[in-house]
């Protein structure tokens, strides 16, 4: 975890280039020693739940017995996978898309009902190589190359889930899933309810979204804002190889339909992840950088912009707390709330559109629940309400950049 943060810092320094954006290829895990320093800190913070065995899913119990501070999915898992004071032993380094693949493959090995369906997932190995090699291993039916009919094959996945399988449905680009909106909303989200609980839909719908490098308006969409109102689904966004694998596994094991948002620009992030099996909690947020002055809530790629800004802010004397909310629906109001209660200032940094995005909902939720703890209005930095332009300069201005985050923090902390 810390490796990535350090990497983000390094990447930030290197990337104070004209376009001021992170070249994700530069984000590389640092040596194990830095990992251990950070993880020791986390483990101390989470030591109250030292006996939490199940990676957060039974943290129901841990939470109650625990005093104030943040129950930390990261700490919980680290406390479990390693002995309390030594870093996780070997670990192996891989890229984010490989982490997704590893998680998927492990779940497919574990349960023969898990299958994959999508365009070019089989013989082609997936447009972003997430399913590379799986068709050779599991066959053409378990890793199904579908024709180009999102609505129908998403519905087919839902029908298969109702009858006992556990499909992982890939949208080649999340934007294509707009064509599957009917199935995702009506059947995926609602069918468990309208059937009176008789049928479960344990599907995972996943794919890359977000603004890439000049991919054009239609390939740069953020569907989390469109899907967030659908009752009955959960949405998570991964941002590091560690949580990508953990969330993939958790999503597959969940009995609920889960939409896993990946980001086109994050697939080549490299990190060292544990060799042991682990999953991440679907409903929990991730503490990226604890701090005192201000809470920065973010997810997916904006996490890296936030961390880049954090580096600058630290140099200027600020101490921002950065939380990767990870669970876009439902929000982890406990982690978020604890942070607000500590810092009293909130800045949301997201890639969604300004109107009706995740940030808009989060602002409402924070105002509703933690109004008394705020010393300043919640500020939300989102993308412009503009179709993402092709031109590089224009595209850069539609998305939140680290400099804007720095300015916003300075403004909030006056």
């Amino acid at each position: 975890m810390s490796a990535i943060l350090q990497g983000a810092g390094a990447g930030a320094a290197a990337a104070l280039s004209p376009f001021n954006s992170i070249d994700s290829n530069k984000l590389v895990a640092h040596s194990r020693s830095s990992l251990s320093v950070r993880s020791k800190r986390y483990i101390v913070a989470g030591s109250d739940e030292g006996t939490n065995k199940s990676f957060g899913s039974s943290s129901l119990i841990a939470r109650r017995s625990q005093p104030l501070m943040i129950p930390n999915a990261v700490a919980a898992t680290k406390a479990d996978t390693a002995s309390s004071s030594t870093p996780s032993k070997s670990g192996h380094e891989l890229l984010l898309f490989e982490a997704l693949q590893e998680g998927l493959e492990e779940e497919m090995d574990r349960d023969p009902h898990v299958c994959v369906m999508g365009e070019d997932v089989g013989h082609y190995g997936g447009s972003y190589k997430v399913t590379k090699g799986l068709a050779d291993k599991f066959g053409d039916l378990r890793v199904l190359d579908t024709p180009i009919c999102e609505n129908a094959f998403t519905g087919m996945g839902i029908g298969a889930a109702m009858t006992g399988l556990r499909p992982v449905i890939e949208g080649m680009n999340m934007g294509f899933l707009l064509l599957a909106f009917n199935q995702i909303s009506n059947n995926c989200g609602m069918l468990h309810y309208t059937s009176g609980g008789q049928f479960t839909i344990p599907v995972v719908i996943r794919g890359p979204g977000g603004v890439g490098r000049q991919l054009g308006a239609e390939h740069s969409q953020r569907l989390e804002s469109y899907f967030q109102s659908i009752p009955g689904i959960q949405m998570v966004a991964c941002s590091t190889p560690y949580n990508a694998k953990g969330l993939m596994k958790a999503a597959i094991r969940s009995e609920n339909p889960v939409i896993l948002f990946e980001h086109v620009l994050l697939y080549n992030l490299k990190e060292s992840i544990p060799d042991e099996e682990y999953i991440c909690n679907l409903e929990e947020a991730e503490m990226v950088r604890p701090g005192e002055h201000i809470t920065i809530l973010t997810y997916s790629r904006m996490r890296y912009h936030a961390m880049q800004a954090a580096k600058t802010l630290v140099n200027k004397g600020y101490d921002p707390e950065v939380i990767d909310i990870r669970s876009l629906k439902p929000f982890d109001l406990h982690t978020i709330g604890n942070s607000v209660k500590k810092t009293h200032r909130v800045l949301i940094v997201e890639e969604c559109m300004r109107t009706g995005g995740i940030g808009a909902s989060l602002t409402a939720a924070i105002n509703e629940n933690f109004h008394d703890y705020l010393d300043a209005p919640v500020m939300c930095l989102s993308s412009q309400d503009v179709p993402t332009p092709y031109a590089g300069t224009l595209e850069e201005w539609t998305v939140v950049q680290p400099a804007q985050i720095v300015t916003a923090v300075e403004q909030l902390c006056q």
Binding site: S57, L60, R63, R64, Q66, P71, P112, H113, C115, G139, L141, R142, P147, C149, N151, A152, F153, G155, M156, G157, I158, G159, A160, A161, M162, T163, G164, L165, N182, Q183, N186, N187, H192, Y193, T194, S195, G196, G197, Q198, F199, T200, P202, G232, S254, E255, N256, L282, E283, E284, S327, K329, P330, F331, D332, L333, H334, T335, G337, N369, F370
Partner: protein, 430 residues
Amino acid sequence: MATAFAPTKLTATLPLHGSQENRLLLPIRLAPHSSFLGSTRSLTAHSSRRLNHAHATRRSPPVVGVQEVVKEKKSINSLLITKEEGLVLYEDMILGRSFEDMCAQMYYRGKMFGFVHLYNGQEAVSTGFIKLLTKSDSVVSTYRDHVHALSKGVSARAVMSELFGKVTGCCRGQGGSMHMFSKEHNMLGGFAFIGEGIPVATGAAFSSKYRRDVLKQDCEDVTVAFFGDGTCNNGQFYECLNMAALWKLPIIFVVENNLWAIGMSHLRATSDPEIWKKGPAFGMPGVHVDGMDVLKVREVAKEAVTRARRGEGPTLVECETYRFRGHSLADPDELRDAAEKAKYAARDPIAALKKYLIENNLAKEAELKSIEKKIDELVEEAVEFADASPQPGRSQLLENVFADPKGFGIGPDGRYRCEDPKFTEGTAQV
């Protein structure tokens, strides 16, 4: 109003293309003797009509009407059904009819609300297909789903309670008229938007194939998807025809062509109104059958189901049928021509079966009357049961939204919202 759509009463077998380039497209091997009804081999054409098949590799096959087949079988002194089968079919159709009539009554008495779509007149399709299925076969329907659920085995009580919105309904009152589901009977719904059930049915068929080919289980389950003529202009239909034929999924696509999509005549909405023809375009047989005759439907269904069970893939069956009532109970039904209605009323499937049973000495009038009486009592009892059942309490509000209620997330106090005692009361903030 155009009633010019004179159904051709033809069945056609569409052989797959001669050139089998795609190795997945295996030619359909028709069993020599018990051949597919439309097969040209064993049946001699009586009054055949020639259809031009653009892609037929043989000379245009003579096309034989299904009623000729039926007559032929009768003439060699073998009946299409036994007495037991006949009574089962009759009872099922009477159940469908009585139930729907009772729904209308209850609706107008304010016991059920919203959109209620009745199946009167189409019973032959539901009975003809579903009575051939086993419990583990799946059925997927549309909003006109009460009778499909009943034919599949869901009790009249459960369906009526669901319509009344009571907890004892098959979906605990949460689904309503358009969402009849039953896990026990593999009734996979009940869908409000047309076409959205077809991919679900395709998925159920995929599951079947997956169990057989990947999990190596003994699975012969088929799925029957019912939908209407209006749906056949919808993209999901075509996408699923393609996938089903591509992977030879064990599914039967049944079009209940009742010529009307609310007030839109099939002829005004469709460039080529002969829906059965769309099957061969995707590489599956397309069959047209008289959907007002349960025996004909059953014969076609037998073939289609057997095909699917043998792993030979999907079939598209177009049943020409008619709904005696309006689209829903809110539809004044003013657009349809009285003459058209009268024409189909004269072909009432229940009356037709009754006539067949009596003329062929399979049943006596008295037996049939006693079935009718039994069903009347069953339906009355279902209403009483539904009336007496409780309405859902507030506590039910938040249940079943998620299979795993942790999906409601973690509240500010650190506990999962589903642990909040108010959650089970239905008053928690989520």
